[in-house]
């Protein structure tokens, strides 16, 4: 970046209001490209403390010498990191005039999912000035949480209001140097969510960024941190069943969960980013690092995910089972259609004694897509009496798609048990015909069979979410046979 630009930016930092509304809009974009100044710009915009800026800069320096990973099965043209914007305030993203400007296919999906018109406008990025019910719902909700001492706010707010918690836990599960995409996120993360549950508190409601209107969480470089203090419990829902209009091609989010002694975190995700069109053009590249640390004894972390979106999914929500008797779970449904590529799975790292983990993965491939389960179960020498059970099932709907299961199993002591089961099957014509003979059309039949195939995982989702996820599966698989 030239000196001239840097000076202009510094001017902006002095007083965001100095240049009035219009100039303010302009200054809400960091100049294109990624360098140290971009990182400083973002940190400054967010009025972050010095230590956090240093943390970001360190990550950035590290990122410069890292190599983009190429060990997974996903293939994509190389990403030009200098050809992107790394910061733009949400209000400045380009708004459409009305739903008439929106891709009709997107609208069709919204209608099928039964999403109200106002929310459709919001999701599609239409400029709306109406006040949503959900906003007021959100407020009531926040007050109720306050009573129990639960903190649930945007990451940026947390940096301002709870700096000591952020300082203590940020990067403690996913270090800023962890991997190429997590490190990039550490340098340039824009916002995300922060949750803290005090000792002994059972969070009185499901926390979600999915009150669809809560925009705070979503973004290109999202960062989420959830801390469950001793003997607390929280269920967190991330995402939204409705596909979001999104101009960003690259998403690199980081999610860190910390469960202290006796605490339990249940983290559920529905990921439905734009998957690209039927020819495989466009779509989000989703490179996510999600990891939970069962730091205390008897703690538990459970990941449940339904993934139907993105052109590329690269994601391995993991559990570090550090505490004795701690347990980790991973329940996953990954759907790939058209030219989507999924390389997803989990890592269960058993460190403490008597730790247990359970992995149930259901991959559904159709179109010309590829769907890989990649998972690591590692039982360390001192992790005595630990157990793992893994079940990976793949269902193929067409002859052009592919499914792979790549389990890595390391057991370094003889007192632990690891079980792995895997099946791969093509949807059976007999099943389809049986359903059709009872009056279901082909799509309804596919949807019924697929939902049956995924039942073990769908059951793990909170009730209301499960219903939406079922609908989403049906919509994602429409026209997938034949």
């Amino acid at each position: 970046m030239s000196d001239k630009q840097e000076k202009l930016s510094e001017e902006d930092f002095k007083d965001p209001y100095e240049f009035g509304f219009e100039t303010d809009i302009e200054s809400d974009f960091a100049p294109k490209g990624l360098n140290e100044d971009t990182v400083r710009f973002i940190s400054n915009k967010k009025n972050e403390p010095e230590w956090l800026l240093d943390w970001r800069l360190e990550a950035y320096k590290r990122w410069l010498v890292m190599k983009e990973p190429d060990w997974s099965s996903v293939r994509y043209p190389s990403i030009d990191y200098q050809d992107s914007y790394y910061y733009s305030a949400p209000k400045d993203s380009e708004k459409l005039e009305s739903l008439d400007d929106v891709d009709p296919k997107l609208l069709e999906t919204y209608n099928k999912l039964g999403i109200p018109l106002k929310e459709q406008e919001w999701l599609a990025g239409v400029a709306v000035d109406a006040v949503f019910d959900s906003v007021s719902v959100g407020t009531t909700f926040k007050e109720r949480l306050k009573e129990d001492g639960v903190i649930f706010c945007s990451f940026s707010e947390a940096v301002q209001d709870y700096p000591e918690l952020i300082k203590k836990y940020l990067g403690s599960v996913v270090p800023s140097t962890d991997n190429y995409f997590a490190t990039l996120n550490s340098a340039v993360f824009s916002d995300g969510s922060f949750v803290y549950i005090p000792p002994g508190v059972r969070c009185p409601m499901e926390l979600s960024t999915y009150f669809r209107i809560n925009a705070a969480g979503t973004g290109q470089f999202e960062r989420t941190l959830v801390i469950a203090d001793k003997d607390s419990y929280v269920s967190y829902l991330e995402g939204c069943t409705a596909p979001m209009r999104d101009e960003h091609q690259l998403h690199a989010a980081v999610v860190e969960l910390v469960a202290l002694e006796g605490a339990e975190i249940k983290y559920s995700t529905v990921q439905n980013w734009y998957p690209g069109n039927e020819e495989g053009v466009g779509g989000v590249y989703n490179f996510v690092t999600k990891r939970g640390d069962c730091r205390g004894d008897n703690s538990k972390i459970s990941w449940t995910q339904v993934e139907t979106g993105s052109a590329i999914t690269w994601k391995y929500p993991s559990c570090i089972l550090r505490g004795n008797n701690s347990s980790g779970e991973f329940y996953s449904i990954a759907v790939s259609n058209n030219y989507q590529q999924v390389d997803s799975g989990t890592k269960m790292i058993h460190l403490g004694n008597n730790t247990s983990s359970r992995i149930i993965s259901k991959g559904i491939s159709t179109g010309k897509s590829s769907n890989t389960y990649r998972g690591l179960v590692s039982i360390h020498p001192k992790s005595k009496g630990s157990r793992n059970f893994t079940q990976c099932d793949s269902l193929l709907l067409t002859n052009q798609c592919s499914a792979s299961t790549i389990p890595y199993i390391e057991s370094k002591n003889s007192e632990s048990i690891v079980e792995h089961e895997a099946t791969s099957s093509k949807i059976s014509e007999e099943q389809l015909f049986y359903c059709q003979q009872r009056g279901l059309n082909e799509e309804e039949a596919v949807s019924l069979i697929v939902n049956g195939f995924c039942k073990d995982v769908l059951q793990k989702l909170p009730m209301e979410f499960a219903v939406e996820a079922q609908k989403l599966l049906s919509v994602s698989l429409e026209g997938s046979i034949g």
Binding site: S428, E429, E430, Q431, F433, Y434, C435, Q436, Q437, R438, G439, L440, N441, E442, E444, A445, L448, I449, N451, G452, F453, C454, K455, D456
Partner: protein
């Protein structure tokens, strides 16, 4: 109208270039029960699959007319919703889908097709409990995954349950008697027989005369090498029972 409820005219069907059904003609009137008897491999199941619209069969000649409509041009689910029900010889397992949910889904798609409102949950429950009881199906089996781990007899009873729930106008029973023990056989046969009325027709495919003792057919057809070689009253079934198919030209 009553005479052309189901009209199969000069039907020939191939599977992988092999002629399985050869110039078959058959008419079933409204309210009539027809039985098809024949040796293994004579094409009986092919006929039921073709009527239900299963893929993999090439119709090389002929026409099928159902209730005044060209059946061949309809999708399997359209045929089902228009009242054709096939009780499968080998009912299919669908893991993860409960029996009761499957039957409800089927009934709903049927009702939707006929322009009816969805059935009230309480009403549905009452109905399915009642029908299960008639067939001696314990309630916990309704909650199990469809046909998964069911014995052969349990699967067949479950087919009969679906028949009772869906009330088709043409029920095709493809060897529904096989796999049933004596007591279950009686219950299933008598229950199916009780659904007979002046509007509903049946096509009963069987090896054995014993089923036809309980579901008394109006007409019995002897099926050999893909076509009907003789038709007659119930006495024809008795003849097969005692003398086999040899007289009808079966070389086996």
């Amino acid at each position: 109208m009553s005479n052309n409820f189901l009209n199969i005219k000069s039907l020939s069907v191939k599977v992988d270039d092999k002629l399985i059904i050869n110039n078959l003609s058959l008419s079933i009137g409204r309210g009539e029960v027809h039985a098809i008897m024949g040796p293994n491999g004579s094409g009986k199941s092919t006929l039921s699959n073709v009527l239900a619209g299963k893929d993999g069969y090439t119709i090389v000649n002929g026409a099928i007319d159902f209730s005044g409509e060209d059946l061949i041009s309809l999708e399997p689910n359209e045929r089902a919703n228009k009242g054709i029900f096939l009780a499968f010889q080998y009912p299919v397992e669908i893991p993860g889908v409960t029996n009761i949910n499957f039957i409800k889904t089927a009934l709903e798609s049927n009702r939707k097709y006929r322009g009816l409102e969805p059935i009230k949950p309480g009403e549905f429950l009452k109905l399915i409990k009642e029908k299960s009881k008639i067939l001696g199906i314990p309630e916990d089996r309704l909650k199990r995954q469809l046909n998964v781990g069911f014995s052969g007899g349990e699967k067949k009873r479950n087919e009969a349950l679906q028949l009772l729930m869906l009330e088709p106008s043409l029920a095709i029973l493809d060897e529904t008697d096989s796999g049933l023990d004596v007591d279950a056989f009686k219950i299933v046969a008598d229950t199916i027989n009780s659904t007979r009325n002046k509007d509903n027709s049946m096509l009963v495919i069987t090896h054995y005369q014993r089923l036809l003792e309980r579901i008394k057919p109006d007409i019995v057809h002897i099926f050999v090498d893909g076509s009907i070689v003789e038709s007659g009253g119930p006495e024809l079934a008795n003849e097969v029972e005692s003398d086999g198919y040899e007289r009808f030209g079966d070389a086996k």
